[in-house]
Subunit: 347 residues, 2 copies
DNA sequence: GTTAGCACTCAACGTGTTCGAGTGCTAATT
DNA sequence: AATTAGCACTCGAACACGTTGAGTGCTAAC
C-alpha cells in the first residue's frame, strides 16, 4: 500500500489534532476541519493507515491515535522548522544575557527558560571538562596550618580548597611545592592529571614531599574530580501535572522517580548523539521512558566545552516548536557566554 | 468536661492507629487492641473527645480522625523521645562521616539521610554567612588580561572568580590593589563588606583605581553576594507518592508546586525559631501547608554558622520518631564537620 | 473512487442496590 | 453512676445495569 498525498495529509491532521487535544481523533473531526473528503472516506484512509502501522485504535469504537512510527515519520519528513516568536526570543534573551559568574549558572537558566517556553520538563548538562587543561596551580598560605590550593583551568574554571596541614609550612616549602606541581601538571587535561602517579614523579625535599603526600595530594585529587564533575540541572518538573497523560498518579510517580535518578540521566544524556537528537517512545531504551519523547541538542562554548540540553515530554509533543527552541537555545549559549565573559560586562 | 486518664489513652490510641493506617479509627478497633472498655464505652468517650475538639468525623458513619488540636496535645504532652536504632545511627554516620570538601555537601547529605530514614520530604539549609568574616583577599595574575580574585572567609569558605581586565595589569598594580583591599575589607563580615562604599574609601594610584572600579569591583560584589547566599537542599520528594493522602493528583500537584518555590521556603525556614520547632497543619500560615506538618531544627557549626534542617509531611506523622532523628542529625552535623575539617582526614 | 446509510461497539455516565463498617441512642446490667 | 449490649440508622464503596454518544466497519448507491 502506498502513502498517498491524501494519506499523508490525514496523518498529519490526526497528529496535529491529537497533539493538541490528547483525545483520539475521529473521522468526523478531520472531515470537518480539513477538506479532505467525507467522514467515510477519511475512515477508509485511516483504516489503511492503521494497517500500515501509523495509527492505532484504543478500542473498536474510538478515534485514532498516532503511533510512534507516525511521530517518527512526522519528525523525519513532515515537520517544518518554526520561527520563534519575538516573545520567546525576548524570554530567552532576558534569561541568558545576564551577568553570570559561572558558565554553570548560565546553563541552569537555559534549562529554566526552556521549560517555561515548552511547558515541559527541561534539563541541561554543564559542559564536560575532560578536555579542559590545567593552566595555573598555586598554594597560598592563609595561616600557619592552612593553605589554599588553587587551580585554574583553561576554560576559566577556578577551584580551590582550604587544606589543613599537619605541620606548619614555610612559604619556601609552599613555593617549591607549587612550582613542582606546576611543572608536573600544568598543560595536562584534568583527566590526564588524575592518571599521573603523583608520588612517583615527584622529587623534592623530604619535608615538602611528606606534606604533599599527606595533606595536599588528597585534596588535589578530590578537587580535580570535582572539577571534572558534570552537573545536571532540571526545571519545570511540575509541568507534567498539566498533561492529561499524567493524571494517573502511578504515571506521575514513575516519572518523578525516573527524574530523580540523576546519575543515570546524566549518563544517558552524555551518550546521546551530537546535534539535535529526537527519540520517541520505545526508541528510548528505558522502560520508564517508553511513553515519553526526548529531544536533546548539543551546545558548544569556546569550541572545546561541550554540553547537552533538552526536554522530556509525552510522545504527544509539539516536536516542531520544541526542536526550534532547543536549537535556538544551544546556538545562543555560547554567544551569551562570550558576552558575559568578555569585556563589556555592563550591558 | 475533663480530659480523664482514659480519654487520654483513647486519644493516644486513635492517634497511633490513624498515624499507622491513615484510615479513620472505629470504636471496635480501639476496644479490641487496647483494653480500654467495650466499643460502646469507647464510643461515648470518643463522642466527648469530639465535643472537646480533639477528634473529628469525616461523615456520620465513619471512625474518628485526630484533629490538629489532638496532634498538638500529643506533641506537647504525650510524646516520648525515641532512641534511634543502631541501623539508623549507622545510616546517619555513613552519610555524614565521609570526606567532604565543603560544608554544603555535608548539609546536602544530611537532607538525604533524613528523607531516607523518615520516608518524608526533607530539606536542609546551608548555614547563613552573615557573621562570616573575610580573612584573606588576593589578586593573582593568570595571564595578561585575566586575574583571579580570591576570597577566603573565616569559616574556610573559599571563593574566587576569574576577572577579565580591560587593560593588562602589572604585578605591582595588582599587589597594591590586593593590599588596599585587604586593608579595607579583611576582618569585616561579608554583609559589612557589601555595605562599604568602596570607591570612597579607596585611594591609590589612578591606574589601579580605574582597574578596580571598572573590572574588579563588580566581580567582587557579585562574589560577596554569592558567598552570602544560602542554599536549600531537598530530598525525598517522591516519598509523598507512598502516602495515601497524596493519591489525589491535585494534592500531589500543589505539593510539588509549593516545594518548587525555593526562595519562599528558604525565607520561611530562616524565620522559624531556634531549636526544634514543630508546626502542625494550619499552624503553618501557608494555605498549601494547611494539611502538612513541618518539623525543623537548628544546627550549629563552629559556634558561628547556623542553619536549619527538617522535614515536611502529612499531619499524620510519626512525630516522636521524626523529632528524634532531626534532633540527632543536628547534634551530629557540627561533630561531623569538625572531623572532616580537622586533621585526621583519613578515617 | 467517493459517499450515504446503518448496524454495531464500547467507554463514560448515571442510577439503583447491596454490603459493611461505623455511629448514636436506649435500656439493661454491674 | 458507669458500663455495656442491642438495635436502628447512616453513609461510602463496590457492583450491576441501562442509556448515551462518539466512533467504527461494511455495504450499497452515486
Amino acid at each position: 500500500m502506498d502513502l498517498t498525498e491524501r494519506k499523508l495529509k490525514i496523518l498529519q491532521a490526526v497528529i496535529a489534532d491529537f497533539v493538541r487535544t490528547a483525545e483520539p481523533v475521529g473521522s468526523r473531526t478531520i472531515s470537518k476541519n480539513y477538506s479532505l473528503g467525507s467522514p467515510a472516506t477519511i475512515r477508509n484512509e485511516m483504516s489503511d493507515l492503521e494497517e500500515m502501522g501509523f495509527l492505532t485504535h484504543p478500542h473498536t469504537s474510538s478515534g485514532r491515535v498516532p503511533s510512534e512510527k507516525a511521530y517518527r515519520l512526522y519528525v523525519n519528513e513532515m515537520m517544518k522548522k518554526r520561527e520563534l516568536s519575538q516573545a520567546e526570543k525576548d524570554a530567552i534573551a532576558s534569561e541568558l544575557y545576564q551577568n553570570v559568574t559561572e558558565l554553570d549558572s548560565l546553563i541552569e537558566r537555559a534549562a529554566h527558560v526552556l521549560s517555561e517556553i515548552t511547558s515541559l520538563t527541561a534539563f541541561a548538562l554543564s559542559p564536560g571538562k575532560e578536555q579542559d587543561t590545567l593552566r595555573y596551580i598555586n598554594l597560598l598560605p592563609v595561616d600557619d596550618y592552612s593553605v589554599v590550593l588553587m587551580l585554574v583551568s583553561d576554560s576559566g574554571k577556578v577551584s580551590n580548597t582550604v587544606v589543613r596541614l599537619k605541620a606548619p609550612a614555610s612559604e619556601d616549602t609552599l613555593r617549591i611545592l607549587a612550582k613542582n606541581m606546576t611543572y608536573n601538571y600544568s598543560g595536562k587535561t584534568l583527566s590526564e592529571a588524575l592518571k599521573i602517579d603523583i608520588i612517583e614523579n615527584f622529587r623534592t625535599d623530604a619535608a615538602a614531599m611528606s606534606m604533599f603526600e599527606q595533606s595536599i595530594a588528597p585534596s588535589f585529587i578530590r578537587t580535580l574530580e570535582d572539577m571534572l564533575n558534570v552537573n545536571l540541572y532540571m526545571d519545570g518538573l511540575t509541568n507534567i501535572f498539566a498533561l492529561p497523560e499524567y493524571n494517573d498518579i502511578e504515571k506521575a510517580r514513575t516519572f518523578f522517580e525516573m527524574i530523580g535518578r540523576k546519575a543515570e540521566i546524566t549518563q544517558k544524556l552524555i551518550s546521546r548523539g551530537d546535534g539535535i537528537e529526537i527519540t520517541i517512545g520505545g526508541e528510548n531504551q528505558d522502560a520508564d521512558l517508553s511513553d515519553c519523547s526526548v529531544i536533546t541538542a548539543t551546545y558548544h562554548v569556546d569550541g572545546r566545552l561541550v554540553g547537552k540540553l533538552g526536554v522530556i515530554g509525552p510522545t504527544r509533543m509539539k516536536y516542531d516548536e520544541v526542536t526550534s527552541v532547543v536549537e535556538y537555545l544551544t546556538d545562543n549559549i555560547s554567544k551569551a557566554f562570550m558576552l558575559t565573559e568578555g569585556d563589556d560586562d555592563d550591558r
